[in-house]
């Protein structure tokens, strides 16, 4: 029998959710906070949907959980998710409360919960997920996440042994999560293997965690993403159960092989980090019982949300809006790399990645800029770079240290106006890399570039 305290917390949280909605306010965090205040182990007492899927890891959580949710919804499943709210404990509880009856019963079939890695200890011991998807574990905000060993330690300390893990075989740190979990499914990418093992700016696993010998690599895509083995013991990247064997950028499709089946899906986005996200989604959906037809139908109708990736044509200018998380060196470096690899010439970049909160009456830690690989910005197709925001001088120094020609760099302390400095006579393809919480600056940049493209400014 549930505790009385649980019901008091549930009703109070539901009331607050109702009132917040009437007031037109966001009800995706505060109700959960109330529930925890009134009943510390609220999550332990709430009855979750029949299937609980947790999505965690450094990069790609939101994209993966959004895609899983949209494909399941497309196939008639009813879903609880926290895609519009916070991925910490209060956000997850708010999402569950929203879809819970006054009797404390779930209204939906499946919960898809995006879970912040640091919140693992507050969530999994109270609500064991049936499935946990982890795409990667990489350097992230150094203030919160310290380093990858710490994040692995946190997740492993919290993870119930009964949870079935869906892991990226090409991320040897994520792949070794859950030493006590017997059920593991791996996905990986075999297509577009790099020809050479180029030195990586940073790599978070160098020595074998089993015997301490120097790991060797078949290949490395970026950072520690690739295939590795220990020459001294049997430690190695696991064999993927779901393997992406081909990426067809001309026809916008990709092929994935599992068991003896070969399946082709719509390539929603050609950024390699998203191809890994798609692998995670397909592996999970197959494991919970969806057929190729069901997944494929959902994929063909899905999109990466516009706040993360959007392309716009304005006059002769092609504008690409890319979300590049500040304080997250790998996510940002992957965006730089994506821009450099894009098969167009005459590129201009507007980079607005300073942390908003850390720069209001504060001075943001810029250590992460030095973990971020800026060398892609040297690419000759990039003709102009504008660093916008209060830390623009730090970006200039960082870029120069990476060998970027200072001649093509400009700065604008007012991030809102940075895009206005792009010279469209030199740059027909403009990429705006913006921080998640700098939506207002991104919007201003987009509108300014659209007007400039039309010749209005």
């Amino acid at each position: 029998m549930k505790k009385i305290r649980f019901y008091i917390a549930l009703y109070a949280a539901k009331l607050s959710q109702f009132l917040l909605k009437i007031l037109g306010r966001n009800a995706t965090y505060f109700p959960g906070k109330i529930a925890i205040r009134l009943c510390k182990d609220f999550l332990k007492h709430i009855t979750p949907p029949k299937t609980v899927i947790a999505v965690t890891g450094t990069n790609g959580k939101t994209t993966v959980s959004n895609l899983i949710s949209s494909i399941l919804t497309e196939n008639g499943y009813s879903i609880t998710n926290n895609s519009f709210g916070s991925n910490v404990q209060a956000g997850i509880i708010s999402a569950l409360i929203e879809d819970t009856t006054l009797c404390g019963k779930p209204k939906k079939d499946i919960a898809i919960l995006e879970v912040d890695e640091r919140s693992s200890l507050l969530i999994y011991p109270q609500m064991a997920p049936d499935y946990l998807v982890c795409n990667n574990i990489m350097r992230d905000s150094l203030k919160r996440n310290a380093h990858t060993e710490f994040i692995s330690y946190i997740i492993n300390s919290a993870l119930p042994a009964s949870t079935k893990l869906i892991l990226n075989a090409d991320d040897i740190i994520a792949a070794t999560l859950g030493p006590n979990n017997k059920q593991k499914t791996y996905f990986g990418l075999d297509a577009e293997k790099p020809e050479a093992n180029t030195p990586q700016h940073i790599r978070d696993i160098v020595y074998c965690p089993s015997c301490g010998a120097l790991l060797e690599s078949e290949y490395v895509r970026y950072n520690h993403i690739g295939r590795h083995y220990c020459p001294n013991c049997d430690f190695q990247s696991p064999t993927p159960d779901y393997l992406i064997t081909n990426i067809d950028r001309t026809n916008n499709t990709f092929t994935i092989r599992h068991d003896s089946d070969s399946e082709t899906y719509t390539l929603i986005n050609d950024n390699i980090v998203n191809v890994y996200n798609f692998g995670a989604v397909i592996a999970l959906l197959h494991e919970i019982g969806l057929s190729y037809e069901q997944i494929s139908k959902g994929f063909s109708q899905s999109k990466i949300v516009k706040t993360r990736f959007e392309t716009i044509q304005s006059g002769n200018t092609n504008i690409t809006m890319l979300m590049a998380k500040g304080q997250n060196p790998i996510a940002c470096a992957r965006c730089y790399d994506y821009v450099a690899r894009s098969q167009v010439e005459n590129k201009g970049l507007v980079i607005i990645v300073d942390d908003l909160d850390d720069n209001i009456n504060n001075s943001e830690s810029t250590c992460w800029l030095y973990d971020c690989d800026y060398t892609a910005l040297k690419d000759p197709s990039i003709k102009q770079i504008i660093f916008g925001g209060p830390r623009c001088k730090d970006h200039v120094l960082r870029a120069q240290l990476a060998g970027v020609d200072a001649e093509k760099i400009s700065i604008c302390e007012n991030a809102t106006k940075a895009a206005g400095m792009i010279d469209l006579t030199k740059c027909q393809n403009v990429f705006v890399l913006h921080e998640l919480y700098r939506a207002a600056d991104a919007k201003a940049a987009k509108e300014m570039l659209i007007s400039m493209g039309r010749g209005e400014l």
Binding site: L214, S363, C367, W368, Y370, L397
Partner: protein, 235 residues
């Protein structure tokens, strides 16, 4: 000029590795020797002009201590010879007496070059900033750490903090210093963030050099000093 970089393949967290890149840009003629954790250190049979070691994970820290313990007397010789050694983030902790890893319940005897003990708690992350003075130099930097140091460093500190905490929350004396061995819990790109300190540190070798990209570095440095002096900016 020979600069030995210790265990850069694993001691490079939080941007610390780029201190080496900044030294390379500042001293293009210098020879950099990168000693891996599996190699014998160059300093064992040679005397480098400078040694650098950066931040690492806690498990790596234990491995580094194990690696360096047999070379303690040689390290003491280098310190006595005034070889400049810079240890950033938690690298300097390896030179302390012992490290208590509270969360993992492990106690490790370190190199014991300073009568200072370290407490490391994975559930107590401290984030902060430093605005400090080293002689007439202003030092700025960032801190993100699981550990604090305990003991008397009043005669052997790196900088006196005008703002921010020192070796622990009740100290205003940051870091440890013995001759030219400088240990600071400031992490990340301390050299590019402090071009004048970079020149000072290189100067300890007897060579004078101008910090790389000095104009850009000074512009960012001056802005940071201004911000760090702003009473609204929390430490």
């Amino acid at each position: 000029m020979v600069i030995e970089v210790l265990f850069n393949e694993v001691c490079n967290l939080y941007g610390d590795g780029q201190n080496v890149t900044y030294l390379q840009a500042t001293l293009p003629q210098a020879e950099f020797i990168f000693t891996a954790l599996t190699d014998e250190p160059y300093f064992l049979c040679n005397t480098p002009d400078m040694i650098y070691i950066g931040s690492m994970s806690e498990s790596t820290q234990r491995r580094v201590i194990e690696k360096l313990l047999p070379y303690k007397s040689r390290i003491l010789e280098l310190i006595d010879q005034n070889v400049p050694i810079l240890a950033t983030g938690n690298a300097g902790e390896i030179f302390c007496k012992r490290i208590n890893y509270v969360t993992e319940k492990i106690m490790v005897e370190a190199l014991n070059l300073f009568d200072i003990n370290v407490e490391t708690d994975l559930f107590d992350r401290f984030n902060g900033k430093v605005l400090g003075s080293l002689d007439d130099l202003t030092i700025v930097g960032f801190r993100s750490q699981f550990s604090f140091l305990y003991g008397d460093n009043s005669n052997q500190y790196f900088v006196k903090c005008m703002r921010g905490v020192g070796i622990n929350r009740s100290s205003n004396l940051e870091g440890l210093r013995k001759n030219n061995l400088i240990c600071t819990q400031i992490l990340g790109p301390i050299l590019p963030l402090n071009p004048l300190f970079c020149e000072y540190f290189i100067g300890l070798t007897g060579i004078s050099a101008t910090a790389a990209f000095k104009e850009s570095a000074m512009a960012a440095y001056k802005q940071r000093i201004k911000e760090f002096n702003d009473p609204k900016v929390p430490f």
